[in-house]
Each structure stands twice: as C-alpha cells, then as structure tokens.
C-alpha cells in the first residue's frame, strides 16, 4: 500500500494526478478462509482490519452483496458521541471515541473526524434533571460531560430560537465536547484499504444466501459466487440480520425498520456543533460541504423498503425549523433511508450465536456508526479467540433470556417505542 501523505499529494499534483494505485484489490473469492465476515459495512470492514492488525490473522474475507459502505454506513447522519446513560453502553462507546480520535492516522486515510461537540437540548425542568443525571453518570466514569445554562447554549448556537414564546423553549443543554461527526464513506473506504493491505479479501457483489453445516457446525457459506468454506463466520449485516440468521434456523430479538435522513442545499457555515433533542427526536448538523444534515424518528413499523414515509421528514423538518428558524430558508435537496436493525432492548448484540462457528454483530438500531471502531475491535476479539471481549460481554445474545437487557430508553420489547 502506497501511503497517502501531503508530499505524495504534492508530487501527484505536479504530475497530473497519475500514478495513484487502486485503494483495494478486487479479488476472486478463494475456496476457503479461516474467518468470513458477512457484510461490508463499517463494522464488518473494521472487524476484518482488527483481525489482521491486532490478532495477526491473514486468511480473512469480507463478503458484501452490493458495494462496501452502501448500507447504513453510507446512509447515516454520522453523529459520533459516547454519552449514553448506562455503564455498559458508555464504556463501549467511549472506547470507540478513543479509537475515532486516532483513526485517520491509524488507517492512513482521512476519515474527517470532527470533534465539534455533541449538544443535547433541554426543553423543560424535567429535561434538565435527566440531562444532569446523565452528565453525573458520565463524569463518574471519567467521560466528559458539561451541563450548559441557557445563556451558554445561546452563545454556542446563536441561531437557536431563544425567544420566551419559542415553540420548543430551551432551558439549557448537555454537551460532550469530544463528540462530533465523521465522513461515513471514508470510514468504510479507510478500513477496506487498510485491511486489504494486510491481506484481507474484500469481495463485493457477493451475496451470502445460506450456510454450509457440518456436524451441527457452520463450515462455510453459500454465495451468489459459489460456496466458500470457513472456520468461523461472523454476521455483520445490520438491517438484514433477521434474514441471514434465518439461513441457520435462528430467530433474533431484532426487527428491521426504516430510518430516514435528509440534507439541504450547501450554505456557508451556520451551525458548528451537533444539535440534538432527545425529547423531540430531531438532530441537526452541518456537513463539511455545507449541507445541513437532518434526521428524526424511524418509521416505527417493520420494513426493508429503504424508502420511508413523508410524515417523518415533515415532522423532523418542522422541529428543526422551530429550533433554528433560519433553516426555513433552505431547500431540501435529498432524502434517503436505511434499514436499521432494531433490537428489543435498544442495545447491540455482539457475541457467539447458539450455532457452533456462527457469530452475530447486529442490533445497533439507529446508533451504530459511532460504535464502528469499537464494534470491529470487539467482534474481531470474539472471532479470533472465541471469548467475548470484556467490553462486549454485557451484549451477549443470551442476555434476553437471562433478563439482563440493557434498555437505555426503558421501553421494553417494542422497538417502535424507542
């Protein structure tokens, strides 16, 4: 792998930008691999990279039915933060945040991680109490959290409607300054390129259509490009977790739902932090290209359609405009949808499955992009060693039967209430 650097860019600039090598190979699938990862999203590619980098394994393939990063990785609103209320969650996500901070260097690929601060708005005394409790829980575990007064929020985001009769009055906020955004595609590409350089086969246009079983154990996969044998197989397909697990006769505590996002025409910098309201479920940030990226609620019923309902966009836009009235002047240029893997406690599943040789990384709901590096790290650990990484141990598949769910929203088994 030729390293990217300022000098390389300068040289190529003087020679007509020729001589850049392909970022990753386009290999034919081999007959057999030690480990196969199904799904070439950020999580699958990060897993492959850490299997090679941390565990020294080389005979690994990532099988992707479409193109890498074409799933939720390339459709998400890229908010990165670790300020979850519960310890198993914030420990896992904070490990991710540590890895985000060094990712561009580690991968030699600019993932444009931009720790511009992730701000939750509080709209009432009740909201402020909840935010203060959350901040306390985070600080007890050494994770940064600052409770902001109304005046501090106003200073940070001058365009917010702070009028006394605002539709959603703002009482204050909670900010994680280390949080922010990253370039979603670059995360997939950076991991793919770095994994490829270590010998991992990243195989696109290769859909897994079944499992080969030998003596009750998974011994390979059936694909649209023929059968491939494997020592261990890791499912990492986000919204498609149910159908892929069904190939092995398993049913999961996961339901697929549509989540949409949309973006406005690009404008000069107007919002330089990530604004979120969990009471409203609306989030706003400005991309480096200048578009205002917005998102809201999932469609709240099962769907694989990858296209969503207009009322969700309407609601998110109405809330965003009420919060930042200047947004009403902008035109929406695109909206899109992804199929999220809504788990039944809102937390991911990251462990072996009750079929030998088969593992699951899924159930990230609408919030797994921020976890990408930690998810890959922990999944690589269990795939390489057979044991769950300590940070992933609370997220084992059997927690539902044990009654040990990790339910941040406290709403139980109905994902549409999250």
């Amino acid at each position: 792998m030729k390293r990217y650097s300022a000098l390389a860019l300068l040289k190529a600039g003087l020679t007509g930008q020729r001589g850049w090598e392909q970022a990753w190979r386009d290999p034919e699938p081999k007959k057999s691999y030690d480990i196969i990862i199904i799904g070439g999203g950020g999580h699958g590619l990060a897993t492959a990279y850490y299997l090679a980098k941390v565990h020294g394994l080389r005979n690994i393939a990532v099988l992707e039915k479409g193109w890498i990063g074409g799933g939720n990785t390339g459709r998400n609103t890229t908010i990165v933060r670790s300020n979850y209320r519960q310890k198993p969650l914030h420990d896992l996500f904070d490990f991710a945040l540590d890895l985000w901070e060094g990712m561009s260097d580690a991968l030699n690929f600019n993932v444009m991680f931009s720790p511009r601060g992730a701000l939750f708005l509080g709209h009432s005394d009740g909201d402020m109490t909840v935010l203060a409790q959350r901040g306390d829980a985070l600080r007890c575990d050494g994770i940064d959290a600052d409770l902001l007064t109304r005046a501090q929020v106003q200073k940070l985001v001058p365009l917010l409607d702070m009028a006394p009769d605002a539709r959603f009055p703002i009482h204050g906020g909670l900010i994680q300054r280390r949080g922010g955004t990253a370039r979603h595609d670059a995360v997939a590409w950076g991991y793919a390129r770095a994994a490829d350089a270590l010998g991992v086969d990243v195989i696109q246009k290769c859909e897994v259509t079944g499992f080969a079983m030998t003596g009750g154990r998974v011994s390979g996969v059936a694909t649209t490009r023929g059968p491939i044998a494997a020592g261990r197989v890791g499912i990492c397909v986000a919204g498609n977790s149910g159908p892929v697990a069904a190939f092995a006769g398993l049913q999961l505590p996961i339901e697929a739902q549509t989540l949409q996002a949309f973006v406005t025409e690009p404008v000069k910098p107007m919002i330089d932090t990530v604004i979120m309201s969990q009471s409203l479920h609306c989030y706003i940030s400005q991309s480096d290209k200048g578009g205002i990226v917005l998102g809201g609620d999932p469609d709240q019923f099962p769907s694989y359609a990858q296209r969503g309902l207009p009322p969700r966009i309407e609601k998110a836009a109405a809330e965003a405009i009420a919060l930042v009235p200047a947004l009403s002047r902008l035109r929406m240029v695109r909206c899109w949808a992804g199929t999220t893997d809504m788990s039944f406690d809102g937390s991911p599943i990251l462990s072996a499955l009750p079929v030998d040789g088969l593992y699951l990384n899924g159930g990230w709901c609408y919030g797994g992009f921020k976890a990408t590096p930690a998810s890959g790290w922990c999944y690589a650990h269990v795939l390489a060693t057979g044991d769950n990484h300590p940070l992933a141990a609370p997220f084992a598949f059997d927690r539902f039967v044990r009654g040990a769910t990790i339910d941040e929203a406290g709403v139980g088994v109905l994902p549409q209430l999250r």
Binding site: N240, A256, P302, A305, P311, F344, V413, Q416
Partner: protein, 87 residues
C-alpha cells in the same frame, strides 16, 4: 404512505394507525415462562409477508390484523382482531 382499509372505517392514511407487534408474539398471562420469552424475543423478521397486529389509534381505536409485505408494503388483508383466535 400506505393506505389501510380499516374494516370499521374504510380506507384511511397509514399515519392514523400504529403498529403493535407480530401476531405470533402475543403473550398471554397463563403462558409458560419459556414460551413467553420465546414469543417476546424471537422474531422471524422476514423480508417478505408477515401477520401483524395494528391499531387504528387515531380513528376508531380498534385492533386489526394485517398481512403485509415488508419490502413492497403490499397489504393483502386487513381483518378485525379476535382475541379468542390469537392466544
């Protein structure tokens, strides 16, 4: 948006309705614990048809059973929910 043909009210916009759960995940009080856990936490979650419990929440508030395709959204039947039939 989908259009759902409520047997009580006629065709209405989907935003009047709310999805509850799949028909095979209804848990009754007298159910043994292991069966209740299975029904709560194991879903077929197919990329195809499934039978679903919905409610005309912002209409007549009746419970309904929909057979709906989860990729194409095709709805092949909407029926009144009969608790005696689904335990």
């Amino acid at each position: 948006m989908l259009q759902i043909d409520c047997p009580y009210c006629g065709a209405r916009a989907q935003s009047e309705f709310s999805y509850e759960r799949t028909l095979d995940s209804i848990v009754t009080v007298e159910m043994p614990a292991n069966e209740a856990v299975r029904r709560l936490y194991a879903r077929a979650n197919p990329r195809g048809f499934d039978d679903e419990l919905w409610r005309h929440a912002f209409g007549c508030r009746q419970w309904l059973v929909l057979r709906r395709h989860r990729q194409t959204h095709e709805i092949t039947s909407v029926a009144a929910f009969d608790p005696a039939l689904h335990r």
